[in-house]
């Protein structure tokens, strides 16, 4: 138990240090951006002297950074300037993140499931040989996922709309409730967005290979070989010992998923942290953009921490390696 707690404490320390570093990077970069929200206003030059004092935008890079860092440490990102004037940033960012979680979590789970099931179907980690066509099929499908998220999103939105319109014009189908993307707020739109997020740029092929490596490695472990020789149940053993690699793969894809989220939310017209971040950059609402970028960085480091914690809890060798 002491070893477990010590290992978790070490991982927590790493999490705090990494998160602090990421927040420092984000805050420093935003402090270096020239121009501010006043430039985005139509009568900005006339109001500059008044708004600079009111919004705390006076001062050079050093002053802005010296002001921003202690506030970031207190999770005080101030108020939105141009996107939702006067609204506190943290609640705005948190609610946007909550909406995005409805896309992110299913997409991450789907990518993991597809990776491990695909690897198992392709015979990775299995002792018996499998047909070459099976491997080829899985790899061909996964290679499609190498399409960047932006192209996949455009292809899905335009393709689905064009295909449905053709069918409607030919009289084959009635106008569906979700037509046309991305204007309609419908479960079909959300489902397609999740599929694009999970498949493209999350790279099923990458997931397939890593999942295959994990399955192969686990299949060669002595305790698995022994259990197989005993004729015991392998599924609970695999599920328990794949938890850590699966969590690690999920954490590794978190930053890329967060990047792709911006594109997918814009392409599918869905409100969330990604589209709000892009809007705040366009309107130079730096407090809101910093808050959202920090939320994204904390999400990525938290995913990593959870993955490390799962590994430490499940696998005693991880605990001993840290001692």
């Amino acid at each position: 138990m002491r070893l477990l707690l010590r290992a978790l404490a070490l991982r927590a320390l790493t999490f705090v240090a990494t998160t602090a570093g990421a927040v420092l990077v984000v805050t420093a970069l935003f402090s270096a951006v020239p121009g501010d929200a006043i430039d985005a206003l139509p009568n900005g030059p006339e109001l500059r002297s008044q708004l600079e004092a009111e919004w705390g935008l006076a001062g050079g890079f050093g002053e802005r950074l010296a002001d921003a860092l202690p506030r970031a440490a207190r999770l005080d990102f101030g108020h939105s300037l141009t996107v939702s004037p006067g609204a506190p940033v943290l609640p705005l960012a948190a609610s946007a993140a909550g909406r995005s979680a409805a896309l992110l979590l299913p997409a991450a789970a789907l990518a993991l499931l597809a990776g491990f099931l695909g690897a198992a179907f392709a015979g990775d980690g299995a002792e018996r040989p499998v047909g070459a066509w099976r491997r080829l099929l899985v790899r061909a499908v996964a290679a499609l996922s190498a399409v960047p998220a932006v192209l996949a999103a455009l292809a899905v939105v335009n393709g689905v709309n064009a295909g449905t319109w053709s069918l409607m014009e030919a009289g084959r189908v009635e106008r569906p409730a979700w037509f046309a993307l991305p204007e309609s707020d419908h479960a079909v739109r959300s489902a397609l967005a999740v599929l694009v997020l999970a498949g493209a740029s999350a790279s099923l092929l990458w997931m397939l290979r890593r999942a295959g490596d994990s399955l192969t490695q686990l299949g060669q472990e002595t305790f698995v070989v022994a259990e197989r020789a005993r004729g015991g149940p392998l599924v609970p053993l695999y599920l328990r010992h794949l938890a850590a690699p699966a969590a690690r793969l999920g954490a590794a894809q978190a930053p890329a998923l967060l990047s792709a989220l911006i594109v997918v939310e814009r392409a599918f017209g869905m409100p969330g942290a990604g589209s709000l971040f892009w809007e705040s950059c366009g309107l130079r609402d730096w407090p809101l953009a910093v808050g959202l970028a920090v939320v994204a960085a904390v999400t990525a480091t938290s995913a990593r921490f959870v993955a490390d914690a799962v590994a430490v809890i499940v696998d005693p060798r991880e605990r001993e390696a840290l001692s």
């Binding site: 570093g21 960047p148 932006v150 192209l151 911006i262 594109v263 814009r266 950059c281």
Partner: protein
Amino acid sequence: MNVRVVPLLLLAAGAALPYAPLADVNAAAPDLPASLSRLLGTDHLGRDVFRRVLAGARAFLIPGVGAAVIAGGLGVGLGALAGWFGGLVEGVVTGCMGALRAVPPLVLALLVMMATGAGPAGLALGAGLAALPAFTEGVADRLGALRRAEFVVAARAHGISDARILVWHLLWVNTRALVLREALATVGQVLVLEVTLSYLGHFGVQEPTPSWGNMIDHALRTGCANPLAWVAPVAAVLVTLSATVPGGVRR
């Protein structure tokens, strides 16, 4: 020479051809199909799609090479320090790379571009920083595995200096293929960034300067009757990505 570099070299040769975007506009010949004189037809403004695809490669090749040089230079240096010395040095370097990796690549590239200017230099620097953790960790892992190898012990026993072992035997002989692979992946990543930023607007390459991203965006937005106006740049993106990033986007 790595065979995956060949398509990029061909592309670079095509991108080096002179192209004047405004002079290419021909309002009398919009949406023409492919022909012998215009291999991929024209777009909504009568511009030659084939020539724009070639010229559009500059939008990612130049920043891509820049990003690879930045990430490779810094990454090899930091990775060599971490892998050779290990211990606290490795911990510090790995921690810094962990912090950098936690920021989503698009967000990081965007921040750097906003701070330094949304041009090729900004894109190169932003993408280079986003690619830095992969270079550093790859080189550090490789050196960490090799620094106690028998050939290293033998080289030391023969009186070869640590500096020569590190630079020649470890970095040049054993790591350059890895660095080249990561450099190609970085060029591919810059292509994805450029196409994404062009679609999203604001920070991408702006018309009339051609880029594959703004060609796709323009063709879809204007409903260009010549499908090659968007098929050609999409195909170019996919072929280039398959050459630079086999196996999907880097993690």
